[in-house]
Every structure is written in structure tokens, then in C-alpha cells.
Amino acid sequence: MKDLYLVYKNLTRKKLRLFLTSFAIFIAFLIFGAVTALQGALNSGVEMSADNRLVVFNKINFTQSLPYAYVNKVSGIDGVKDVTFANWFGGYYQEPANQVVTMAVDPDTYFDVYEELQVDTQQKANWLQNQAGVMVGERLATVNNWKIGDRIPISSNIFSNKDGGQTWDLVVEGIFTGKDPQVDTGYMVFHYKYFMETQSWGGDYVGWIVLTTDDPAINEQVAKAIDENFANSQAETDTSTEKAFNKAFIEQIGNIGLIIFGVVFMAFFTILVLVGNTMVLAIRERTSEIAVLKTLGFSSPRIFRMILTESCLLAFLGGLLGLGAAYLAVGALSKMMARFLPNLVLGEDIILQALGYMLLLGLITGIAPAYRALRLNIITAFARG
């Protein structure tokens, strides 16, 4: 028998109280894990944005297009490294409910600008040769069980094909992956030229332009130069960093960060009060036992450590179970919502953060009763009975 055994026996002596307290902690960490993963998924676009990547949209709003000629003009601006462009397609697979994020892009430059995407050289070469070819993100391919060589009919709820239909027959020529699990691979890209040649509206425009700068330090200067270049033109531009654009886009839904902070704060505050109160009561009930241990020769610091260990064990018991449940729940939700929240994962950073909170919860809720035990006077304790 060691101190840890004593701690364990004390922790488990009142089974119902242990269950209720750890269940409350379980719920708090379930909420924390799930909600933080959701926040991560919503913010993943912001997090994964390259520091030196800028996006150029029509100043009216991002649904308005830009003249194709802008692409070359942007390339010529000082400080611009690589330039590509894309057009929203608005695709779905087989039925409208089955949305597939699809963009028509410049195949020669797209993957140069998005360096976080990994493409097999041979697959890319095949894609460049086949106008009707499509590069599919790994996550999207997994969800739909698509393989290289598959012919997939993708329909658009915006554009019509020249043959009168709304469906494009595309061939999977490659599957691109992310250098990091958080990189979004839940979409696909096909040839801009092919799209323009086959869609009924025609035109010479692009949805938006994406570029990288030579150095993130000159982002502002380059953005200003681009917007000034197109000032008073038929389509004025609004250039910002990709990070800022993604952040602004997410914030249209509301201040997600604040909402999530509120939910997590309330959950933890409630738990802090509840577990703290439980620990105080539990130790108060054991006043005479603590006095006996001290009488037998257990030092006050040793008893202090034992009580802190107990409160930390309690926090980790409920916390780990809650985090485990959150992991399973996020895993299940991730499969169900792969199309809408492709980056919904409970990653290592969330796990480490949760472990830190468990430790903090254990220490905060245990410190008061542990200190009380530390200061407990044997004679006074026995006199109280």
C-alpha cells in the first residue's frame, strides 16, 4: 500500500458522489472537446492560410467577377511572386443535396500558389493533358469513394453547359493531399479553360485572383498597389491577405470565438464551483481522519499532496472520459459532415489543451481543501470530533 492507494480509496469511498462529480466533469470536457474542434474546423481556413498569400476580389463583393485581363496586370506588380485565379462552379454530385465544392482554376499555376497541397507529378501531368480532367482533394475522394480514372458527372446549380444540360463529365486524373491534416482537401478543381469553353454564358472573367508575395512584410504594400492599379476601373478590386479574408468570412456567421468562449467558460465555471464544493465537503468530512494521519506521523505537506492528487485524479477521471467521448463524437460528426466541415478533427493541440485544463481544474479545486488539511491542528480537529 502506498499513498496513491490511500488516495484511490478516499476517492472511491462514496461511489455516487464520485459518479456525479466525474459525470459533471465528463460533460464539461465533452463540450470543450467538441466545441473546440468545431472552432478549429471553422478557423482552419484562417489557420492554414499562407502568410504571404493575398486574394483579390471585386470590390462590390466576392460573388462578383473580375476581368481576366487583371491576372496579367497583377503579375506585373512589384513584389508579386506567383499568381493564379479561380472561378466558383457551385457543383453537386448526382443530387443537389450532395454538394461538392468545385472550382475552375488555372491548372498551370494553381498548385504553385497553394504550396500546402501535395500532388503527384505524374498525376499532375495527366491532369494537364486532359481538359476534362479533375484533381480531387483526398478527403472529398474518400467521402465519395472516388478513384483515379473514375468518370464523375458533376452538375452546377449556377452554370449551364452549352449542350443545354447542367452536368459536366469529368475524369479523376489525380488526388491531391495536404502537407498537414488540417489542410482542406474537401474540394476539387478542374480546368478553367475547359469550363469557359463549355459553359453557355461565355465571357472573359475570373471569380478571384490569388497571389503570393515575395515577403509577407510587403503584403500591405502589394495589396495597396493592386487596388490603386484598378481604382476607377470597371471593376475595382479589394485585396487582402487570405487570412484576413477567411477570418472576415467566418465572422459573418457571428463572433464564433466569443460564442465558443462563452459556452466553454460557463461549462468550466460551473464545474469549478461544483467540484470545488464537493472537494471542500469531502475533506471536511474527513477532518478527524486527517488528524489521525497527522497523529500517526504523516507530515502536513504529505497530506497536502495526497489531497491535491485526489482532486487531480478526479479531474482527470472525468476529463479523460469526456475528452474520449468528444473524440468519438467528433470522429462520427466528421464523417457525417465531411462536406460542410472538412476539417472537423479533435487534434493533438486540443488534447494537450484539455489535459492542461484538467490539471488546472484539479489543482484549483484541490488547493483550498489541501491547504485546510495542511493547516489543520490535530487537537482542534479531535476536539471537533
Binding site: T12, S288, T295, L296
Partner: protein, 237 residues
């Protein structure tokens, strides 16, 4: 201090502050306890019996005076040093047993051994020996809630002796027991004193219990009266 003396108190005073008032429990208390003594301390409520026991057990410090154990002063030790001293030298037996309700008999007995460097196997052997000594070897796995008062006190005695302390301090050890069970417990204490040479100090209200001791001291208003009255070696019929 004579080599025969295990404990010696010199000019010990103990005073408490209660609001603006100072209450004096002892003032110039002197006593010694010889090795191998079985000393009973009797006296009315408020006479200072428990305070004296607390001083002897190192759970309280005198306001002034000297308390020496085995030739060394303990009145100036820190709280931490006193805890170690208690673990090494004193076995405690309480009126209400004070066993840990969530531990079985063997684990309760093992508690003081957690403060030693003994291995798990050695601790287990000592626990078995102690429980055998008090006649509860077959109850090792029983929880306190499954045992009678007499059995609980025997477990408490096993816990007190398991680390082989020089002194056993008993605070009303039979105060919660019926006469027959009390006699069994007292006989056990007498056995520990006679056969194993344990020095025992027992506070009691019960004259019948005091008859098991080799000496009885009466405390009244913080002073010993009729010191060193005749030794009662044998239990009266």
C-alpha cells in the same frame, strides 16, 4: 535525566488564550515515566489529562518548560520533526478507535509502516504478526464496518504496535466498550507491557481500568495528587 526514564517533564506550563483571558492548564508540572511502566492517569474532566497526553504524544507543545524523551528535548522540535518523532516512537490508541473506514483491518494496521522504508513484503509480514498478536489474523480483510467495538480496538492496538514504538499512548481505550470487552483490551495492554516491555501511558476515567496499570497518577487542576501511589500489579477479582 536517569537512564531509566523514558520521559521527563520539567517545570512544564501550558496556557491557552481564550479571548482576552488566559487559561492555565499546567503551571510547573514535573513528572517522569520510567521505561517499562504502565502508567494510568486519572482525574476529573478538565484536570488536564488529555492535554498531558497531547504533550507526551508530541501533538502539542508546552508554553514553557522542558519535555525530554529518551534523553532528548522534544519541546523545541518543529511540526515536521515532531511528526517524524511520533512515527518513530509513539503508538496511539484512541477511545473511538479512529480507523480509516475505507481500509480493511490489514491496511489500517499497515498505515504507520508507510512512514518507514520497509518493503511491501516486510510490511505485510509485520501486519500479519501484529494482527496475530491481537487475535485478529482471520479478520485481516474485514472492513471496520464489519467488526465489533472490541475488534476495532484490537485493530487499533495492532496499528499502534506494528511499528514497534517505545511508548503507547492510550486515550480512554475502553471508554466505548462494555466491561468484558474492556477487560480483554486491558489484558492485551498488560500483556504488551509485561511480555513485550512496552511503556504505556493510559488516560482513563475508569478505576477498574487503572488497576491494570503498574502506577496510577491522579491529576487535579493541573497538579498531580497522591503521586506514585502503590503499584497495582494484578487485576483485582
Amino acid at each position: 535525566m536517569s537512564d531509566d526514564n523514558l520521559f521527563e517533564l520539567k517545570a512544564v506550563a501550558k496556557r491557552f488564550k481564550k479571548g482576552k483571558e488566559t487559561i492555565s492548564i499546567f503551571d510547573d508540572l514535573n513528572m517522569h515515566i520510567k521505561r517499562g511502566d504502565f502508567l494510568a492517569i486519572m482525574g476529573p474532566s478538565g484536570s488536564g489529562k488529555t492535554t498531558l497526553l497531547n504533550l507526551l504524544g508530541g501533538v502539542d507543545q508546552p508554553t514553557s518548560g522542558e519535555v525530554s524523551f529518551d534523553g532528548a528535548r522534544i519541546d523545541s522540535l518543529s511540526e515536521g520533526q515532531l511528526a517524524t518523532w511520533r512515527a518513530n516512537n509513539i503508538g496511539f490508541i484512541f477511545q473511538f478507535y479512529n480507523l480509516m473506514p475505507m481500509l480493511n483491518a490489514a491496511k489500517n494496521v499497515e498505515l504507520p509502516l508507510l512512514l518507514t522504508n520497509l518493503s511491501g513484503k516486510e510490511r505485510q509480514q509485520r501486519v500479519e504478526t501484529a494482527l496475530k498478536l491481537v487475535g485478529l489474523a482471520d479478520r485481516a480483510k474485514h472492513m471496520p464496518s464489519e467488526m465489533s467495538g472490541g475488534q476495532l480496538q484490537r485493530v487499533a492496538i495492532a496499528r499502534a504496535v506494528v511499528s514497534d514504538p517505545k511508548l503507547l499512548l492510550c486515550d480512554e481505550p475502553t471508554g466505548d466498550l462494555d466491561r468484558n470487552t474492556a477487560d480483554e483490551i486491558l489484558e492485551m495492554l498488560q500483556l504488551l507491557n509485561r511480555e513485550f516491555g512496552k511503556t504505556i501511558v493510559m488516560v482513563t476515567h475508569d478505576p477498574a481500568a487503572a488497576r491494570y496499570a503498574t502506577h496510577t497518577l491522579h491529576l487535579d487542576k493541573g497538579q498531580f495528587v497522591d503521586k506514585d501511589e502503590p503499584v497495582l500489579q494484578e487485576k483485582s477479582a
